[in-house]
């Protein structure tokens, strides 16, 4: 009997016992003004420019505001900005801040703060780095106005400033933003709708956010990271729970109010409890990834990579992850997030239909594979990568490959995947990961899709057509143009097998029904959320 089986069984029993049995343990009064939230991971650090984990970004979005915010149509809307103006040659962008912006220490938000913040952000963010490379100057014109002058037009400017991909262009006080972007800030002062209670922070256990009463929300309806961020709770407490069964029990017991990402095994239990609401959390989901090392044989040969695409069954990967719940996954014969404007299946036929092992084996032979060990590095402490790794080991064996299955932890995978040395000398052939669907809606934050050799993501793929089309996307001025470019990127990335997508999958979120206003979004959104006793 393993731990997962036990927790599933007991949590299930708990769910049955609790049907119709409401017993909130939290007292009335102050507790009713406190939302207790179980995040996806521990908030281990809190500098959203220095550390780029999703959980840091999610917490930072409560504390720091951005100049723009994307809405559910992926359109950047004004947030801290009142107006913007771009010169006719597209080179000079002039922004004016909206009135009433104040930091949590009571100081007004000034243009100099924005300039310092954007300077720090642009040293770490891929889009920021692009902007920095073509920047003439970034200066404060007066207290409320700043100007960004470029050497060449950058049509994606507003998306860069409003995107939700880490690191986001969060605005900090100048004194914090002047910190070396490769060092952590020591204060957590923002101008967002929540203040971070540093004195109550217990990394690994608890993080507390208090309503910032001086925050002036926009008047528009809130949609994702855009619009009016109306805070209806006095406090939001993040309770870190490493054990899913405990989180499930605490939610059923009323000790917590909202669990960001319940594991699939426990969802039926939560669904069976009439006091708990369950729904898809992030509609943009995730893109599974089977990453091959393009530097070493056999995967330095495109035929070997194509053999993998020809043989892999995305359904196998997805079933290993989500079980029988068909609403949680989709086949993905491409790279972009399904149901988003740039989604395309152009060139994706190789991932569709019956899997052809005979043809795949033939391709492997043509690639010169002769039974050498294939080092598959798998993080066992991540359920997603563990599931993917098991399926891959089976797949490679069926293809007649000699699998060297290296079961380890994510910390080791993180370091090992950066090794360019041959697998026999500490390098690797295959590792698995997944990308948040929000990062895959377009090439802006889609680092994993880049194919610029040594500068590309782990695996270091080289594909001139992919790179050329990504450059074209950044220059594209209309959605139609972007879609056409995306189709060409998709085809080129499949032809050269930048990486192998293992499918698109979604995750649930669960909350107690006395909590109102939980909405779907690429990150947990706490504005508009309220709770009754």
């Amino acid at each position: 009997m393993d731990r997962r089986t036990v927790l599933k069984g007991l949590a299930g029993a708990g769910g049955l016992a609790l049907t119709g049995f409401a017993a909130p343990a939290i007292a009335q009064g102050a507790a009713a003004r406190t939302l207790r939230f179980v995040p996806q991971a521990n908030l281990a650090n809190f500098d959203p420019i220095w550390g780029t984990q999703y959980v840091v970004r999610n917490a930072a979005a409560m504390v720091w505001d951005t100049l723009y915010g994307i809405d559910d149509q992926f359109v950047p809307q004004r947030q801290m900005v009142e107006s913007e103006e771009v010169s006719s040659d597209g080179l000079t962008w002039t922004f004016k801040l909206r009135p009433g912006l104040k930091f949590h220490d009571g100081e007004p938000v000034l243009a100099k703060d924005v300039v310092a913040s954007l300077t720090r952000w642009s040293a770490r963010d891929p889009m920021g780095l692009m902007l920095k490379a073509i920047q003439s100057e970034l200066v404060a014109v007066d207290d409320k106005t700043f100007k960004w002058v470029l050497k060449q037009p950058y049509p994606k400017m507003l998306f860069a400033l409003g995107k939700g991909n880490a690191p986001c262009a969060f605005i900090m006080p100048e004194r914090l933003a002047q910190t070396d972007p490769f060092k952590q800030i020591a204060e957590y002062v923002g101008s967002g709708p929540f203040k971070f209670a540093k004195s109550e922070w217990v990394p690994g256990a608890k993080a507390v956010f208090e309503k910032f009463t001086d925050y002036v929300p926009r008047q528009e309806k809130p949609v994702w990271l855009a619009g009016g961020k109306q805070v209806l709770m006095d406090r939001v407490e993040w309770v870190i729970m490493p054990d899913p069964a405990t989180a499930a029990a605490a939610l059923q017991n009323g000790e917590v109010d909202w669990w960001e990402n319940p594991i699939t095994d426990l969802v039926p239990v939560l669904k069976g409890n009439k006091n708990i609401g369950v729904d898809i959390g992030d509609p943009l989901g995730n893109v599974g990834s089977f990453r091959m090392n393009h530097l070493h044989a056999p995967f330095n040969n495109v035929k070997a990579r194509q053999a993998i695409l020809m043989a892999l069954s995305q359904e196998d990967y997805m079933r290993a992850l989500v079980g029988d719940d068909n609403s949680l996954w989709k086949p993905l014969p491409g790279f972009f997030t399904p149901d988003t404007p740039l989604y395309t299946e152009a060139g994706g036929d190789i991932l569709k239909g019956k899997r052809d092992f005979a043809a795949a084996k033939k391709l492997l032979e043509e690639a010169g594979y002769k039974g050498e060990p294939i080092t598959c590095v798998v993080a066992q402490d991540q359920p997603i990568t563990k599931a993917f790794g098991d399926v891959t080991a089976d797949l490679l064996k069926k293809l007649g490959m000699n699998v060297d299955f290296v079961a380890t932890d994510w910390g080791t995978v993180g370091a090992r995947r950066a090794q360019k040395t041959p697998p026999s000398q500490g390098g690797w052939h295959v590792f698995h990961t997944w990308h948040a669907g929000a990062d895959c809606i377009n090439p802006a934050a889609y680092t994993a899709l880049r194919a610029n050799g040594d500068k590309a993501w782990f695996g270091w793929p080289t594909s001139e057509p992919v790179e050329k089309e990504i450059t074209n996307w950044f220059a594209a001025k209309s959605l139609d143009e972007e879609k056409a470019v995306a189709a060409r990127i998709n085809k080129a990335a499949i032809d050269d097998v930048v990486f192998a997508p293992t499918g698109f999958f979604l995750g649930y979120t669960a909350w107690r029904k006395n909590v109102a206003g939980v909405t779907k979004g690429p990150i947990p959104l706490f504005w508009g959320v309220s709770k009754t006793a």
């Binding site: 016992a17 281990a44 650090n45 020591a186 990394p203 256990a205 405990t246 000790e255 993180g414």
Partner: protein
């Protein structure tokens, strides 16, 4: 005795130094790089190198070790790579929950295990003995997390008597503090109770066969007096030893128990730090645990002299 205790405390210094060097070396050669974790997926190798340089991780082994020892000599455990908080304050923050859990578990264990062991020895070979020993085998065989889930289901979910998770500091009242500790202490205590009950039984059985026990019986002393005054005191040395050794088990068990019951203690901090390769935190915790082990051993040795006057140092 005082001189002995002082000598023992001083003798811990080379042990601690060796542990420090060993742990530092182990972490240095272990795979994994905190800079990679921090830099995230978007970072270039140059970014990772810059972070490593800022953290001092690019320095040679001896330089890193030397600077760590230098800080230690100044009572500075360093700063967490990830949280940017002092390691000493992170440990201090987590000390109370773990100590509370260990204390309540230890107390519960002694209260339950010693009488059980005594009774089992007294009733050796009977159904009472067999039931107690069966319980001991069960307690020893079932993993802590399984017991934890069962307890949480019954007492938290089904009856709503106790909370599922969390920790309330003692400063907020004894009952709120205890409320959060009962279930984890019982879960963690099961193994420990089983161990001590078995050792107590074995030690008592040996003592109960001694001549002076027969004499005490012949003199008409009551069963309680024989068991708890004459026999238990003479069986105490192995029991005290196993209680001390059990503290090591408690520290190990606390890691799982703290996860299952979401208690923000040192066990969870250790696991988090190891998974993230937060070297200063790992080193700080290992040093603390080593010191605790040495101290517990010293206390056990001193306790021997109290329970058995024949032992002298």
């Amino acid at each position: 005795m005082l001189a002995y205790a002082l000598r023992r405390v001083l003798s811990t210094l080379p042990v601690m130094a060796f542990v420090a060097l060993f742990v530092f070396s182990l972490l240095y050669i272990a795979p994994g790089d905190p800079a990679v974790v921090i830099a995230g997926d978007q970072a270039s190798p140059a970014d990772v190198e810059r972070i490593r340089a800022n953290l001092g991780l690019d320095q040679p082994f001896l330089v890193q070790f030397g600077s760590w020892v230098w800080r230690l000599l100044h009572f500075d455990l360093g700063t967490s790579i990830f949280t940017n908080l002092p390691v000493a304050s992170m440990i201090a923050q987590r000390l109370e929950p773990t100590l509370s859990l260990m204390m309540v578990t230890l107390l519960l264990t002694i209260i339950v295990a010693v009488p059980l062991g005594v009774i089992a020895a007294w009733k050796a070979g009977t159904w009472i003995d067999r039931i107690i020993m069966a319980f001991a085998v069960f307690g020893f065989s079932v993993p802590v997390f399984v017991v934890g889930y069962i307890l949480a289901y019954v007492f938290a979910l089904k009856f709503d008597w106790l909370p599922v998770q969390g920790y309330t500091p003692l400063s907020q009242g004894v009952w709120p503090w205890l409320q959060n500790l009962i279930l984890p202490a019982v879960a963690l205590g099961c193994v420990y109770i089983a161990l001590i009950a078995r050792i107590t039984r074995a030690a008592m059985l040996e003592v109960l066969q001694q001549d002076y026990i027969r004499t005490a019986r012949a003199k008409g002393l009551g069963q309680g007096g024989i068991l708890f005054i004459h026999a238990l005191k003479n069986a105490a040395v192995p029991i005290v030893t196993v209680v001390g050794i059990g503290i090591a088990l408690l520290i190990g068990g606390a890691v799982v128990t703290e996860s299952v019951f979401a208690i923000p203690g040192l066990g969870r901090l250790t696991i988090d730090a190891i998974l993230r390769r937060d070297y200063p935190v790992i080193q700080g915790i290992v040093l603390l645990f080593s010191f605790v082990y040495v101290l517990v051993n010293l206390l056990i040795d001193i306790t021997y002299t109290l329970v058995d006057p024949r032992i002298r140092y």
